[in-house]
Symmetry: C2
Subunit: 326 residues, 2 copies
Amino acid sequence: MAVYTDVAADELAAYLAQYDLGDLLSYKGIAEGVENSNFLLHTSKGSFILTLYEKRVAKGDLPFFLGLMTHLAEHGIICPQPVKNRRGEALGELVGRPTAIITFLEGVWPRKPNATHCAGVGGALAKMHLAGRDFAMSRENALSVAGWRPLFDAAASRADEVQPGLRDFLAAELDHLESGVWPTNLPDGVIHADLFPDNAFFLGDKLSGIIDFTFACHDILAYDVAICLNAWCFEADHSFNVTKARAFLSAYGKERKLSEAEQDALPLLARGAAIRFLLTRLVDWLNVPPGALVRPKDPLEYVRKLRFHQSVRSVRDYGLAAGLVA
Amino acid sequence: MAVYTDVAADELAAYLAQYDLGDLLSYKGIAEGVENSNFLLHTSKGSFILTLYEKRVAKGDLPFFLGLMTHLAEHGIICPQPVKNRRGEALGELVGRPTAIITFLEGVWPRKPNATHCAGVGGALAKMHLAGRDFAMSRENALSVAGWRPLFDAAASRADEVQPGLRDFLAAELDHLESGVWPTNLPDGVIHADLFPDNAFFLGDKLSGIIDFTFACHDILAYDVAICLNAWCFEADHSFNVTKARAFLSAYGKERKLSEAEQDALPLLARGAAIRFLLTRLVDWLNVPPGALVRPKDPLEYVRKLRFHQSVRSVRDYGLAAGLVA
């Protein structure tokens, strides 16, 4: 949950006066997103989300995120749309923070995703990858393989406080992933990079849109697939659900076929995705600021997931049936 | 901010199926209220607030709160309305918590109240007092004079950690308020008991409604006035703003005249109101649970306010001009 910065009604009304959004009726700080302060606005023109970007988000990246949402919507992907002010700008400033208003997307995110949800998100991810192909802007993934060592260094000395042996476990895995095995010639493009269940909205069983592009970047497309395997296909007890994975991968493959090279790389990419979330969660876990209003997520969930991916022998262990995808 | 209990989409949809509220479109945990978990719902029938009452609220009190909102609305007070399910019940259960749905009230609460806001809330408070006269249910005020000593006892041994000398200051004030000076024959009735700025909504300068009746009870009406003097008429630096107090009291008096006895009692009632919020804040301050997502409010703000009220000689110090109120 996150509301780091409150906004006074008169400040907000003055800000909204730059937009053609009608009168402010109400605004509520909402408990979604952990990086920024988000408010649900009601105006006489409808519902909108107001986001104040806090310091963890680089201001220079905001045009990429906002431009991507516009581009994707123009290519048939349902996602929030940046609202431009009367000067045609999508980015403003409020309470000293870079600020944007986006359209409000109805839908609920699945707290307990089932195979139908996994299929929905698989299809949407593939369509997003296709729609992103001709997006002109680019943003490097700061949290891909080259970004993990600094996170490890920041957390290593205290990793064993969280679980005995964790430091050595992470060091060995990082050594392996940095040993030249990470793929360099797989299809790349715009990836969401954070398509967890709380970023996929459904109405009934039907996906109604995807949100939160604040980690979107340019990287290996199959790495995004690997992130979703981690995010959607494990049970609450951290066991892998092959039915959900099959539903996810099959739906993805119907929109965009995974090449044989991508399939072969999937177990390794899934290990990378697991260590990426393990490391950021570990750093957050060890660095909860005093008075924090955000409860950090458990890094150990990803130790279990990483161990699973280490045990995978081929993409068939993810439930991929021959002929469905490649 | 408060979302203590999350609700899964399918659980919520099943709960909503008992109501005639159409289809669930979205729900967001909102950062308002510190006692309960609140969600803003969008359904095909409109916007609603879903509240899961957490353990600090006694389940037996809920019919009083919900009945009061219905009663007040029937008497012209704009406040949220409980939505009844198809069996005619306003109270249900979700995730093991007593749960209610109320209508969503548009409006924004003033982060920096001005004299116009104070006048708006003064008029609304008086109208609420009049509208509550024939409300049949009753609820004792657990946080009136008899309720303060237990709070003091719970916090006394550690009070000086918060401010040196605080224990003796509170003990002396409590001794005074318990010495038989507390009024017993002033007009009583239903009071809001927590009408702080975040519980009063405005559209522009006009009050659009009052919310959050979870402290409402039966007590001295002028005590509610005294609570508002504390809540609305001090600046951020804790100085008393007599212009705001005059606006508040004058607007109250236009709807319901304060008797001479009520006016005379106001300084004492204001001391009582100040120590009530001082003590509950102090207890919360000293008892932040590990992992709490709520930042406790500063009790020392009310030490300053209490000292001010101790220095008041008569109601004229609150800006009350002769003839306007009594």
